[in-house]
């Protein structure tokens, strides 16, 4: 049944945006007034429709009945601040207004604001606004989305508590707009109603994707959301199987397709892996025919005859190694990029390679939906532990929930030491259950590991792009916030100085190419490249510049020998060139493999191949 609201969820890189766009193009063609909204800070809707969209409802050219909007977190934040500040601006002196505005630009406001803007679309429109038959949300990647969706129920609770007590509950920026509470409740109500809302999970027939989907569905079920559908994307079509590499991958896929049938009892649709990319309205119409009608008569492959393999500039590996190995000092490596492009695989290959070189290495993830343990085939917990079977390698996962618990315990112990009464401690404990604590605690952990001296190499498998940026920009924001923080006691101003110094050291470390290397991971395809490019530019504004690119799932030229694989290979060659031109950085290539990357032996072999292929 078609519902008025459809959410597209799933790990980044599974084809969520392509599928959401395919849906909206078809719905609009059927005459339904359709709106597609993205809350992803690294959205690529504009790339899909090949036109500018931006932070307002924009008609899509060439498709009647279709509109789109990209919620810009910065603009949403500003709008939110303006709304909250309106009564204050007129009444209070400018110095006070300025302090308040600076405080509202803290890290939590952006999250609150993006969500606030997003819930507007779940409201019944006012008379002067356009109403849509269907609103499709191309949401941010799973882990982050879930945290976002969890928030309103916590806020509702916190806003209630605040109005009864001394207004002491720490909601920070959320409290500024109290009537939002009802809006969030209505939003969650709409999401829970199967007549109004469908959650479409886009997934690949792969182990990690299945795990991810199952986890996401279970978390959403706990929030009372129940109407789920699955789109299994990237299935290798019969024409792909003439190739040995793709035939092997297809065998792997079939195993996982059986597992999906057996374990995920929801309505399912399948979508094939196309030989070329999905981009532009015309192509989306063809894709809709393939997806909804099973009609692929309009597919045509490039011949791939004109590809010159030599045109892919291979980076001398010596240069790559120099950017990865520690040079006397400790070196921290950050693997950034869109969710699902292979950051975890790249981090694991690199960490194992460094450990095998004899460097004492720590591998860690800040992604709440991390699957580090799956790739290492070794359990990874929230305490640093050696990876069994690989000397010199330790691993840890920053689990925001676990980190929040540790953080809470530490603060409460400190309060007991200071002799605060049990009643006050109980109140503090209640307070620390607020939504911001997890983020703060995860950040605190990040700083702790980023400051440890005992490692020669630290490898960060970071969270997806938008989230990563926020995490990395936090030290900058927070040290600024300490600057504006007023009348701290002598005691806490000393603590502030310590904290500030710690943040500044981390920022300095991240900026120094002798100490840090930022590597962007991407597939050689249009949207991952653009997203990485935007993310890199944004990092540039805080003085952090990428020094390496990892191109993942590159089809080895010698295996591109059927029209289907040649067509995909031709597409990749085009984009590998674009990576070279755009970034002008050393590029490491991870080949497309017949199987998923799993286990230390496979990681070691891949490390040798991609970092030492010139020596062996």
């Amino acid at each position: 049944m078609l519902t008025q609201y459809i959410f597209f969820s799933g790990k980044g890189g599974v084809g969520k945006t392509s599928m959401a766009c395919t849906y909206v193009v078809r719905l609009a063609e059927e005459g339904k007034k359709t709106l597609i909204v993205t809350t992803d800070p690294a959205s690529n809707l504009a790339d899909m429709f090949e036109q500018t969209i931006g932070h307002q409802i924009t008609p899509i050219q060439g498709v009647s009945n279709l509109w789109a909007m990209e919620i810009d977190p910065d603009k949403a934040t500003q709008e939110y601040i303006d709304r909250a500040m309106a009564p204050i601006r007129t009444a209070f002196p400018p110095q006070i207004v300025q302090v308040m505005e600076e405080q509202m630009s803290g890290p939590c406001t952006a999250e609150v604001a993006a969500f606030d803007r997003f819930t507007d679309f779940l409201e019944v429109p006012a008379e002067n606004e356009t109403s849509f038959d269907v609103v499709i949300f191309d949401t941010a990647p799973t882990g982050h989305t879930i945290r976002l969706l969890e928030l309103p129920s916590e806020w509702s609770h916190a806003i209630d508590a605040a109005s009864q007590g001394n207004g002491q509950t720490c909601l920070g920026p959320a409290a500024a707009i109290q009537d939002a509470k009802h809006k969030y409740e209505r939003a969650l109500g709409a999401m829970r109603d199967s007549k109004q809302t469908t959650f479409n999970f886009v997934m690949n027939p792969e182990e990690i994707s299945i795990k991810e989907t199952r986890r996401a569905i279970s978390e959403l079920s706990k929030l009372g959301i129940q109407n789920f559908e699955l789109i299994i994307n990237g299935i290798i079509p019969p024409e792909g199987m003439q190739n040995v590499l793709f035939a092997a991958r297809s065998t792997m896929q079939n195993r996982y397709l059986d597992q999906i049938e057996a374990e995920l009892p929801y309505p399912k649709k399948r979508m094939v892996l196309l030989a070329d990319e999905i981009k532009g309205v015309q192509r989306l119409r063809q894709v809709a025919k393939i997806f909804f009608d099973g009609d692929d008569s309009e597919s045509n492959y490039m011949t791939g005859k004109d590809i010159s393999h030599e045109s892919i500039i291979a980076t001398p590996l010596r240069e790559v190694r120099a950017r990865i190995q520690p040079n006397g000092n400790r070196r921290t490596l950050f693997f950034a990029g869109k969710g699902g492009v292979g950051k975890t695989v790249a981090s694991c290959i690199t960490a194992v390679w460094l450990a095998r070189q004899g460097f004492k290495t720590l591998l860690l993830t800040t992604d709440p939906a991390a699957h580090l343990g799956d790739v290492l085939d070794n359990p990874v917990g929230d305490e640093i532990a050696p990876v069994s079977g690989q000397p010199n390698l330790w691993a840890v996962k920053i689990d925001p929930k676990a980190a929040a618990e540790t953080y809470k315990t530490r603060i409460l112990e400190d309060a007991r030491k200071r002799g605060r009464p049990e009643k006050a401690i109980a109140a503090m404990e209640e307070e620390l259950n607020s939504p911001c604590t997890e983020e703060m605690a995860a950040f605190d952990k990040f700083i702790e590991y980023a400051s440890q001296k005992e490692w020669q190499s630290v490898v960060f498998d970071t969270a997806p792009t938008g989230h990563t940026l926020r995490l990395l920009e936090l030290p900058v924001d927070w040290s600024k916030q300490i600057d504006v923080k007023i009348f701290a006691s002598v005691d806490s101003s000393a603590a502030d100085d310590v904290a500030k110094e710690r943040f500044e050291k981390v920022i300095e470390m991240m900026r120094d190419p002798e100490q840090s290397t930022f590597a962007f991971v991407m597939y050689p395809e249009a949207t991952p490249i653009l997203e990485a490019w935007r993310a890199a530019s944004e990092l540039g504004t805080v003085g952090i510049h990428p020094r390496m690119v990892v191109a993942n799932m590159v089809i080895p030229p010698q295996l591109a020998n059927t029209s289907y694989t040649l067509s995909r290979h031709a597409m990749q060659v085009k984009y590998l060139r674009e990576i070279n031109e755009r970034f002008g950085l050393p590029v490491v290539q991870i080949p497309l493999l017949p199987n998923e990357v799993k286990g230390l032996a496979m990681l070691a072999k891949l490390g040798d191949q991609i970092y030492e292929g010139d020596i062996i």
Binding site: A84, P87, I88, A91, F92, P93, Q95, I96, V99, M100, Q103, M104, G106, A162, S163, N166, G167, Q168, T169, C170, L171, G172, P173, A175, A176, Q178, D179, I411, D414, A415, R418, R420, P421, K423, A424, A427, M428, E431, L432, S434, C436, M440, W478, S479, Q481, I482, K485, I486, F487, A488, S489, D491, S492, A495, D496, V498, A499, K500, F503
Partner: protein
């Protein structure tokens, strides 16, 4: 009409001044008043929270206002607004006992507040 308006509930507090709580604290602008939010813990704010809890447990009615959530509590009090216009940030926080300003520029200690009520008995 501003939706964030302070809810004054006369009758709740017969001993109060003009239906307002006996003790009012006007906070300076801050992310949150608990002292638990932000990069470091603010012990001063934790002390204030503790003091308020203690006063409340003794039966006093205490309210605490932030400009972002209760702008009208500030706006309806001409004495408070005058101090803020004259001294800006330096005026805050302001503590008001039964309509009279007790302290500006820093939070009072428990004893400073208690003394006033003790003196009345």
């Amino acid at each position: 009409m501003d939706k964030n308006q302070l809810k004054v509930t006369p009758g709740d507090n017969p001993s109060g001044f003009d239906g307002l709580p006996e003790i009012q604290i006007f906070d300076p602008p801050m992310c949150c008043s608990t002292g638990l939010c932000g990069p470091t813990i603010d012990q001063t704010l934790l002390d204030v929270g503790e003091m308020i809890a203690k006063l409340q447990s003794e039966g006093y009615k205490v309210e605490r206002y932030q400009m972002s959530t209760h702008p009208n509590a500030f706006l309806v009090n001409p004495d408070v607004m005058k101090l803020i216009r004259e001294n800006q940030m330096a005026a805050l926080p302001i503590t008001v006992i039964r309509g009279q300003i007790l302290k500006k520029g820093s939070y009072p200690k428990f004893d400073e507040i208690h003394k006033i009520f003790d003196g009345e008995k």
